[in-house]
Structure formats: C-alpha cells, structure tokens
C-alpha cells in the first residue's frame, strides 16, 4: 500500500475510497464475468479457440458496458443482469433450443413453455447441472410465471453461492 505521503507499507490490498469491497472471486472481474458468458452461453472462448477466432471487439464491448460504472455498485449490479439477459436473448444462443426461439417481446412467446425452459437454462448455463427432479426448477418457474421478471431470475442465479463458487479463472 502506498500512503498519501508516498510511504510504502506492506503490500496489503485496501479498497479504494468510495470503492466496492475487496473480493478474491474472479467472477467479480467484469472481464472474467463476460468471458464466462461467452463460454457458457455461446460455446466459444472470446480470446479464441480451436473452432472460433478471437472476438475481442465483442468481449471489450460487453466488459466496458459494465466497467464504465466504475465504483457505482448499483450500476454494476444492473449491468451484469442486463449482460446476462443479452446473452440469453442473443441469436447465437436462441438457435440452440427451439423453445427459446421466441423471447419476451416477440409476437410468438408462449410463457408457459418459455419460462420453464428459461429457468432450465439458468440451471444448465449458470450452475452447470440439469434441474430435472429438482424442486427448485418448479419453484423458480412459478416465481417467473407470477411476476414475469426475467431480470430477477438472472439476478438470483448470478448472485447464488452455487454459481459464484464455480472455478472461474
């Protein structure tokens, strides 16, 4: 740490004045957060992989969308949810499952089918497990059916310990 007077003390991390609390979870990094949305939802590494060229423009776009919030925690929170929704509604993801073809706002949406499937993919993509037989699938589907709030659903999964404890690097 370097004090205002320029004295160097032990190399201890301290939060910036007015900044967010310190974290050692890599998913709190906007760049890592976006990278894992690419990996989980689009099936490609934005840094490039054997089947896909790098997508640094897209990676930077979504990352800066969050990081422009700087220290505004409410802004970061909202942008992370919006980013999650954007990946859910992306053509690239939608085409992987016909039940996801008509997202909210499209004329063909059938909430009875779409909502249950939306929750299914929250488990699959965020938690990396199948929810079949899990009472949580019914619970969250009923929640979504009652309020139609897709942001709330994304938020619940993104903030869960279950998601945050994945080995993000």
């Amino acid at each position: 740490m370097v004090t205002m007077q320029g004295n160097v003390h032990d190399n201890v991390d301290v939060p910036c004045p007015g900044g967010p609390p310190l974290t050692n979870n890599n998913i709190d990094s906007s760049r890592v957060f976006v990278k894992y949305h690419y990996l989980d939802f689009l099936g490609r590494d934005p840094a490039g992989d054997q089947s896909h060229p790098p997508d640094l423009v897209g990676w930077n776009f979504w990352t800066s969308g969050i990081s422009e919030c700087v220290f505004d925690l409410n802004c970061i929170h909202g942008k992370r949810i919006a980013t999650g929704l954007a990946f859910f509604y992306s053509g690239e993801f939608i085409q992987t499952d016909p039940d996801m073809a008509n997202p909210p706002g499209s004329p063909g949406i059938n909430p009875a089918i779409y909502n249950r499937r939306f929750v299914y993919w929250c488990y699959q993509k965020y938690l990396h497990r199948d929810p079949t037989g899990d009472p949580g699938w019914d619970f969250w589907t009923n929640d979504l059916n009652s309020n139609g709030d897709y942001s709330h659903m994304i938020d619940a999964f993104q903030l869960s310990e279950d998601y945050r404890d994945r080995p993000f690097f």
Partner: protein, 175 residues
C-alpha cells in the same frame, strides 16, 4: 375415531421426518467419504461443502481448491440408475461439444467449450465435475499465443476434472 386419526397423522409425520433426516445423513456420509478419499489422493487441496441454489436440497456440492486451481463437484442422486441415465441424456441433448470418456463410472462425457467439464453416472448418481486453473501463474504461458494458451488450459483442466472424477467414483464405491 378422532384419536386414531391424530395418532395416524403423528406416525406419518414421524415417518416423513425420518425419511428426510435419512436423506440428510446420506449426504453427510457421502460428503465425509468424499472428503476422506480425496484428501488422501490429493494432498494439499482444501475443500468445503457449498450451499446449493435456493430450493435445491437434493444436491451435494463440494468445492476443492489449491493455489491457482479449483474444482467444483456436484452430486445428484436419483430414484434409480435408469432415471439418472434418462436425465443425463436430457442434459447432453443440446451439448454440441461432448466426448465420451471410456472407463469412467458407468457412462461419462467431457463437455463444454474446452471439453474439459466431466459429467458421469455411477449407479443412481449423476456427478458433475468442473475444474479451473490460472495458466498465467506459469510465466512461460504468458508468452504463448491465444490458441496455445487455450490448448494448455484445456489440457490442464481436463486432466484435473478426470482425476477428480476418478477419485469420486472410488469414494462413491467405498463402503
């Protein structure tokens, strides 16, 4: 008559709580078996039991960590091996990048972009294993191209996932 109904309700209540308690004991026991088994096979790794998503009581989650490496294990029991197999089919239905892994559990696949996450069946259990590593911790990796880094990371996380998966099979099978 009212007394008999009351007694019946109390008895059925006791049975339900006993069944729930049994489920809890099973997870605790499985958790202990896993911890003991993996601790001996992977010295230096630390672990903790994780809290599942709200209203998901039927999954055991363990997180194992080592400096610059981590592994998340999820174990979900089903009523039967057939039901577990059916759920696995559904899970992999939309997965483009999957590869069958021979000789691991009853049926196993590597999946995901890096084909490094492992999912397998063992009896009535489906087990999900996901590993991660910070390849930049290795100074030589920083000098590699993006594709070379991807390949290096893929190889390392796949090796880790498979190694843990093999230990989990051993732990599940242990008495």
């Amino acid at each position: 008559m009212t007394k008999r109904i009351f007694v019946a309700l109390v008895l059925s209540g006791l049975c339900i709580s006993q069944a729930q308690a049994q489920g809890q004991v099973d997870f605790d026991r499985l958790d202990e078996k896993l911890s003991r088994h993996i601790e001996t096979k992977m010295p230096g790794w630390k672990h903790r039991r994780d809290q599942p998503m709200l209203n998901s009581p039927n999954v055991l989650i363990e997180v194992w960590s080592f400096p610059e490496k981590g592994v998340k294990i999820q174990i979900v029991p089903y009523k039967s091996a057939e039901e577990a197999r059916e759920v696995l089919r559904g899970f992999l239905k939309y997965e483009r990048d999957k590869e069958e892994l021979k000789g691991l559990g009853d049926e196993a696949y590597a999946w995901g972009v890096k084909r490094a996450d492992v999912v397998f069946l063992r009896g009535k259990f489906i087990v999900y294993v996901e590993a991660g590593t910070n390849i930049d911790a290795d100074p030589t990796a920083r000098r590699l191209s993006a594709l070379e880094r991807f390949e290096l990371e893929r190889t390392e996380v796949k090796r880790l996932s498979k190694e843990f998966a093999e230990h989990i099979v051993g732990a599940i099978d242990a008495p």
